[in-house]
Amino acid sequence: MDTFQDTILKLKRYWAERGAIIQEPYDIEVGAGTMCPETFLRVLGPKPYRVAYVQPSRRPADGRYGENPNRLYKHQQLQVILKPSPDDVIDQYLASLEAIGIDLLKHDIKFEEDNWEAPTLGAWGIGWQVMLDGLEISQFTYFQQCGGMDLDLVPAELTYGLERISAFLQGVESVYDIEWAPGVKYSEVRLADEVQSSVYNFEMADVERLWRLFSEHEAECKGLLGQYEKYPSQGRFPVLPAYEQVLKCSHVFNLLDARGAISVTERVGVIKRVRDLAVGTARLWVDQPQ
């Protein structure tokens, strides 16, 4: 039986053999692997790219104090970007399942419509959720727009829900019972994080300070974006650092949301503030001489 880390290693190996760069997780909080620059910015422009990485993804509102066997504040996604998407992309995806020990002849696989949309990123795509014996194990998306722009090359994004896949492979009922490494359970590695983060996210995060942080990160990003036009050497301009400020804003927004601190009237406005930053950064990325 494969451990959690065995499954991750096999998937990385599989995609490395198909020309993907194996990246390490991004070191700023994100809600999904899509938000990492390796996806959000790299899908823009005409340059082909293939990358795979595990991304711990934080969704403060999904935290359950470690009490729910299937819900996590922070879950691990394996994100694959194939730009442009090869014609046999679905066959390649299915073979990756075989590679981690799922005998497709003995199981039931269905592709059910599930289009993806991220309003804060001005991004959307067309795709499916992939169902294995009734379990959603992956999200499969053909990106269409990012940062409000039509994409030159259409990338396929494959997102594997690693906890679910491992629980399935190991036949356990709770993600906390997954064997992460030989003799080491998921709960030993992550339970404290789930409990403490839930307490912080739902009960203790300081709302006023978070609002200030949001404004500060926003100001930093805006300040940068405003200097691009007149910057003497645009190829060196810090677009990536500006985007990191967008990610900070997005995470603080999610924290505020989990605290129930965003009123209805504010909500739409705040989402728009984040989107404006994301779209602005994406435009510079496309414009910037590579």
């Binding site: 359950r64 009490e67 729910n68 066997p69 299937n70 819900r71 442009p84 998407s85 014609d87 679905i90 066959d91 299915l94 497709l104 002849l105 003995k106 199981h107 039931d108 696989i109 269905k110 592709f111 059910e112 419509e113 289009n115 067309i126 499916w128 294995l132 014996d133 009734g134 379990l135 053909y142 269409q144 039509d150 994409l151 030159d152 090359l153 259409v154 399935f168 036949g171 009922e173 129930g260 965003i262 009123s263 209805v264 009237t265 909500r267 739409v268």
Partner: protein, 646 residues
Amino acid sequence: MNFLLEIGTEEIPHWMIPGALKQLAALELFGAVLQVDATPRRLVVQASGVSERTPDEHQTVKGPPISAGDQAAAGFAKKQGATPAELEKVGNYYQLRKRVPGRAVRDLLAESLPGAIVGIQWPKTMYWTGKGGPRFIRPIRWIVALLDDQVIPFEIAGVKSGNLTRGHRRLGSSSIPVTIASYESELRKNFVILSSHERRHKIETEAVNLGAKLDPDLLETLTFITEYPTAIRGDFDPAYLELPAEVLTTVMRHHQKYFAVEGAPGRLAPNFVAVMNTGGDPGGLVKRGNERVLRARFNDARFFWEVDQRKKLADRVSDLAHVTFQAKLGSYLEKTNRVVELVKTLGGAEHAQRAALLSKCDLTTEMVKEFTDLQGIVGGLYAKAQGEPEPVWRAIYEHYKPLSMDDSIPETREGQILALTDKLDTLRECFKIGLVPTGSKDPFALRRAAQGIVRILVEAQINHTLASLVATNEIALLEFLEERAHHYFREIRGFKYDEVNAVLKKFGSTTLVDVELRLTALAAVRPTEDFEPLAASFKRIRNILRQSGLSHYPALNTALLEPGPERDLYDEYLRVRDATKSATYRAALETIASLRPRVDAFFDKVLVNALDSDIRANRLTLLQRLLVEFSTIADFSEIVTSGDQK
């Protein structure tokens, strides 16, 4: 000739397939009868009796004037690929009659099919070959296009048509040469049942044999997300049956696409039926996998139930300030406050007001966040568990009803009032900011809401007029509701359009309960012998009055009435007037219809436009009285009679 077209794609959303097939069925195939079918990965057109060539046609081309001379004529002929000898002289001009040979249908199809395929309309399309590339519902990966044994050659998005199809993703080959004759059997060998009818039947038979409670919508969905469906039965711990059946069914049906299984009628059994897209499950792996997923889902539901009970609905009202009703329309707290007021205005008592106050609180619960289509139902179940009185929890439970035309309206009075006011508030607020349905666009389901209001008013016999539900400046909304009332009486209740016009045009300001009574009476009396002829006479009267130019009718002078048909009509008028005074609509209409012989006799024998202007005015007055007095149930002149054109 025989024709086969298979558009091979990645998985198409099941609900879009029937619409695409309808469009493909209208394909121009040169006289052939065609048949369409589909699986999630292929749209297929088959036809027989396609002509080989289009017929030759004759075309006349006008040439230069005869006066231009032989050289011009020769030039013209050459340009047309003819000899000067073939030219004719017609009038002052040369003319050439040309035979345009027909073309091979194979060539024509090679030209037309790419456009026809890419031209299929979908609710949402994508591009996949790069910016500016063709758009379709999902990437096209292969195309089979055959006319008898020949490929119809064309290309879409870099995919060339050929004679190679593909089987089931896992069980079949990915490259199968086919002929028109072998196509379906080759697919079957490769685990694809092309016929959606057969797949539907297979699912239905197997599921019923396993004890499934059939669900037509789910059956349709499963038919179009599988190429080779096989049903299996799974089990779950009977302990979960403690959760409300509504929750269990929703999890099974909407989240997992399983059929529920009933033990005793109306009672769920601890089993489910799943439909796989594969041939079998000999090792029981798929069954166990699905059972595990369902167990996790049920565990979630139980967890949500327990967590939600820690905070009562009544303590959640203020939390609604954080739940968006609509971006421009503020929160559900504001909506709740408005609905409570509306309930009071419409005479809702304490229980109805309490239900209104709690009605949206379930939007803050984990259960509804997870199972959104259970909104209302969960609120009702929680209110019950938290000791709210039965009229309160039942009203909350059923206040989203009717959810569709087939759905019933709420059963309790409190539920009816709450359902009505909730929908009314949504309509009023949306209309205020200009969110008015246009054409097929109705993202907030306002037509359904308005239809719900009409149905509740009529079917729950609530005596409020439509006008009393809206403010005087909400004219657009009133018209919208009236339009829905028209629609309801016509399309749903089956009254004829002229009957609906006859009642609603003139009596639209009465209650819909009253409108229904009038319509029922009208429809019952209409087939009787005298009714339509009388309606025709009323129309004639209205025209006469209109043409008379009289704007003021003097008092009727009985002394001026001529003995005979005129006097008889007057006497009849008095009799009918008295007889209809306190009669039911139906009896009154029957009595009015009995006027017919006297009205006919009057028009036969009496000249309305008498020379004496007093007599003329008196006769017009008599007719006007008749029209006014006997048009109080329905406006008969709206009734289309055999003499009318629609």
